[in-house]
Symmetry: C2
Subunit: 342 residues, 2 copies
DNA sequence: GCCTGAAATTGGAGCGCTCTATTTTGAATT
DNA sequence: AATTCAAAATAGAGCGCTCCAATTTCAGGC
């Protein structure tokens, strides 16, 4: 910077003004500074600028797992909104590990990010307590809900109801739910399934089967369901991955989907759109969630403390190829039409 | 920091020593500093530290598309290796857009990262020229190869040969390649397909069908193949996504996989492992690529300039459920056994 | 020609840290 | 008690920038 100033025959302060394109600079000087900067390959040092400005214009994004495309889309939304407001989004990876998430948050704090978005994070309340005070912080699509922290998520309960309503409208009654474990989202979806069943007048048929959040967890559940005398005609899975696992096992067993069994997932990740799976599912507005997360952060930044903000977005039913009317009780194993079979 | 020093009744310099856990500090003072820091909630300011140290201990990771799980795994490797060497990996998202990638690189340079890993980047030579001089930089799994830049990638040609060898060994001769467009990887895989065919003594049957790099691009190709009098008994697709598209269309047409047609993908992304697809594919060692990328960067950092380093990793055949011996010419549409059919 | 005030420019302090050189401490040696 | 020397602690400059207050420049009006 010193060199640029010298070369352009101006003061360092003027160079600073130009680099921040202040309107207070005459065109003549501005140009000569820019030229000098260009010739010298000068690039402002962000660390120094942040230090002097006492602002970083940066938000930290902690992602639970970079390999999960669901999170990728949420982050896309965060970045877009951050950029619109002149912020840079720095991404750190939690690797599905609370300890590493704590490290990442610590790094963000040392970097003096002005806010943090924790996407799918699995931090405990203790961790949050240490964090929350220092810097605005919003949890996005998180499996846990912390008392004092802002959150952005989808209305999981309503989403589940949509799934059940869709199946009930098709004529299904024996609808089973494959449960996603002990996180908050799973609990909400389970509750939605149950209220949906009751609303459809088939509350006595409620049947929840516990599983994890991974594809493989669905297999045993399907086996058990097929072994019973009155197998369900429809299955609502906690998420797309689970549904994919179920779909496979059903095909193995010679069950046609949706001919013999209908199947609904959750999330609308791109795998559900893979034409070979073509899963009917519940969409989460991932991009909107990302944008809203940043919006929430900015709000916090300007108005300071207050009640925790809770944004709950509307889920949507996406009908694809795995749902249809129930067969008339006649199970025809072997007559497999693929999930997309016309 | 000032406050911490005062509270612990030591100088600022001593606090600095403690925070960098220098061995030159007496246990007594160290403890009292740490206690003071704890009580005050002190956290070193990374920007200030970087400025003073004239080092950032940071590498920038530019990812072409966060929604692609392939890149996610590569980044996992990068982060792991970076952490092992005391570096923090900052991730920025290119959004499949060269212009935004340039911005990201600019940001990295202003942040004074000590090196950059460009994962799947699509920057032009011009862009690279502006960058390469300033900071060490390695291209990972990139669609383009730049003359003066280090690279880490998979031996795409060999990978394609593996695919063809596998199919030929099963007895296939009419093996078609669905091409992935005009990037370097696609060209290499095409070349490998061709040399593999020649090596198997079936060079005259080489048949390359152009497509894009997306699932949907495969559909028309499959339709065309099935319409011809002598349809192929095996297909080798540029990547898993294309293969997924092909798989679906084949199922639509009532073709059994692998009964009537065998199918091989490339990348071994997690979608190929989805049990419902169960794609035979070629693995790229994603984690190793990530680690090696950082290794290359560190090497550059210590030894300065020299010949560009080119790391080419070994691909591996992953046999799953979409390949088998060719049928004896008898096409039996309708007798669909799923891709996993026992 | 002098005064006024807005616009353009500049000097210099300070952001929070590290690092070198220097001073202080305190135990061991004579 | 004086001397030595390593270990422990500190003072102070400086990293590259911004920003405030102060200064200079330059019209226009009298």
């Amino acid at each position: 910077m010193e060199d640029v100033a010298e070369r352009a025959k101006v003061s360092r302060a003027l160079v600073s003004l130009v680099m921040n394109n202040s309107p207070q600079v005459s065109d003549e000087k501005r140009e000569s500074v820019l030229r000098a900067a260009e010739e010298l390959g000068y690039r402002p040092n962000l660390a120094a600028r942040q230090l002097a400005k006492r602002r970083t214009q940066t938000i930290g994004v902690l992602v639970d797992d970079l390999r999960n495309p669901f999170f990728g889309e949420v982050v896309d939304g965060i970045e877009a909104e951050a950029a619109d407001h002149g912020f840079t989004a720095l991404i750190l990876n939690g690797h599905r590990d609370a300890r590493r998430e704590v490290d990442a948050v610590e790094t963000f704090l040392q970097l003096r990010v002005e806010g943090m978005a924790l996407v799918g994070a699995r931090l405990t309340d203790d961790d949050m307590a240490r964090v929350g005070t220092a810097t605005p912080c919003v949890m996005v699509a998180s499996g846990t809900v912390h008392p004092g922290t802002d959150t952005v998520g989808t209305d999981d309960r309503r989403g589940a109801e949509l799934a059940v309503e869709h199946l009930a409208a098709l004529g299904h009654t024996r609808i089973v739910h494959i449960d996603g474990g002990d996180n908050v989202s799973a609990a909400e979806r389970r509750a939605g399934y149950e209220s949906g069943m009751r609303a459809a007048g088939i509350g006595e048929l409620i049947d929840v089967r516990p599983a994890g959040d991974d594809e493989a967890d669905a297999l045993a559940v399907i086996d058990a369901l097929l072994a019973q005398k009155d197998p369900p005609t429809a299955i609502f899975a906690f998420n797309d991955l689970l549904a994919a696992g179920a779909l496979n096992r059903l095909a193995d067993a010679g069950m046609a989907v949706p001919g013999d069994v209908s199947l609904v997932g959750f999330d609308n990740t791109f795998i559900s759109a893979l034409r070979h799976l073509s899963l009917t599912t519940i969409n989460q507005p991932k991009l909107a969630m990302g944008r809203l997360a940043v919006g929430t952060l900015l709000e916090r930044l300007s108005d300071g403390s207050g009640e925790p903000i809770r944004h709950t977005l509307k889920p949507e039913l996406v009908v694809r190829g795995t749902t249809g009317p129930p067969s008339n009780g006649s199970c025809r194993p072997g007559a497999a039409s693929g999930p997309l079979g016309t």
